[in-house]
């Protein structure tokens, strides 16, 4: 199997081609200009993760949406499920930046935290 991707570790944006050997599954990366590109490609093939910033409903504050984010990157394939989970939760003002609004999101061990403070009105 072969996959094409663009390395985003630095602004060079090298175009990488990753091939996995059919029998052993060993990954081979070409097109990278440095070691970091190889590590990135292998991570993307074996365990891709992303930060998830979004908003959730907040009650009792000036604004109706509270910006939140995962404290750490979560597995990429869980993104849509995580969005659903975050949509189901409603928080009450006041909130302080960094407050945990959902702990252990979908069993990943990663918390969802508030991106800003919001006062109660």
């Amino acid at each position: 199997m072969t996959k094409e991707m663009v390395c985003i570790v630095c602004p060079m944006g090298c175009r990488l081609t990753v091939t996995s050997a059919d029998d052993t599954g060993t990954l081979n990366v070409i097109g990278n200009q440095c070691k970091r590109g190889e590590a990135y490609a292998i991570e993307e093939m074996t365990n891709p993760t992303r930060m998830l910033p979004t908003t959730m409903i907040i009650r009792g504050s000036l604004l109706k949406r509270l910006p939140v984010r995962t404290e750490k990157p979560i597995p990429k394939e869980l993104i849509f499920e995580a969005m659903k989970k975050i949509d189901d939760v409603v928080v009450e003002a006041p909130i302080k930046r960094g407050d945990v609004v959902i702990s252990n999101l979908l069993g990943t061990g990663v918390n969802v935290i508030a991106s800003r403070s919001m006062k109660h009105i």
Binding site: M5, P53, T54, R97, R116
Partner: protein
Amino acid sequence: MTQYDIVVIGGGPAGLAAAVEAREQGAKSILVIERDRELGGILQQCIHNGFGLRVFNEELTGPEYAERFIDELEAMAIEYLLDTMVLEITQDRQIIISNSEKGIQIINAKSIVLAMGCRERTRGALAIPGYRPAGVFNAGTAQRYINVEGYMVGKRVVILGSGDIGLIMARRMTLEGAQVLAVAEIMPFSGGLTRNIVQCLDDYNIPLMLSHTITAIKGKDRVEGVVIQKVDQKMQPIPGTEIEYKCDTILLSVGLIPENELSRKAGIAIDPVTNGPVVNSNMETTIPGIFACGNVVHVHDLVDFVTEESRHAGNAAAKYVMDESRSNHKGTVIRTKAEEGVGYIVPQQIDMDSIDGKVALFMRVRNVYHNASLSVKLGGVEIKRVKHRHLAPGEMVRVDIDKQLIKETQAEMTVSVVLEEGRV
């Protein structure tokens, strides 16, 4: 009449950093004026991560980045006004403001820092034929509706323009359940960061159509579809390449323009390329005592650069207040000039008396270059050359020049792109 040492216009990251730095330098009475209901500027709607890698060594979201500076401002007890619009500023530094509570008021300032940011180019600035149905939004407006107000703007979306705001919104709309059909970009390359192309488009299999543009919008009351066409090298649509998409929403991400009505009215010289005030190495405009920083000067892609530049402006404003003779336009001034491959340089003037140690030049190149150098010349003689493996119009470049490299002369300082093999 109220009197302040420094009045900062705009409470975005530029205004906040300028105010905080001016206070650190000892300026006493400082006022920040913001027309919105809260401080933070555009950052409050940029809920995605990717801010602060340079300044805080951390990857923060827009609101997190803003709140760190708002906290500092509050801790220093710097005064600010919200829901207050600056209507006019004058050459002798009077500021006319208006808010619903107190109506129109006049404030006097020893020094003014302009930090009004920029606004989005609108559809009017583009020539797309058709009716004007509902469902056409500026990407930044849609961002505010979704992220701050909590309204979803549509279900099937086509985006025109591949600047960062368009890319970020492609992902945001997808996550919120919309279907983003395509991003059309008239240029043969994207003005957005590679990282955003990968994480906002490739991750969700959203096609990026380079050298394509929207040539017609269908629908009378609400958008019903668009026609996208390939363009030739002269950016003219090629007949026979039309593709029609059924969609209910179009987002325009076709660029930002510095917000300079106030500056123009006051008689500040504006650079026709950046659309921002002409500034010197102190971020002082052509009117003594009026400084400018952030997106009002030139559009930045990284807020970290905004913060650095604005601290510099705040510092200069504080020093000006303590000693007005520090104003420039006096000693030796060297003009900077963008040459081959370089679009513009900020500052446009280097004021030799006021630089300590080094001067930072910010610039954008015109094209994508690999393995090229930026060559800085003074009076035609190269004084510095910096190698870059990658240069792109979407990524602002900073070049620092040591003061001792700059012999006091009346000559111009130029910067050009030089390819490894020779001249561009």
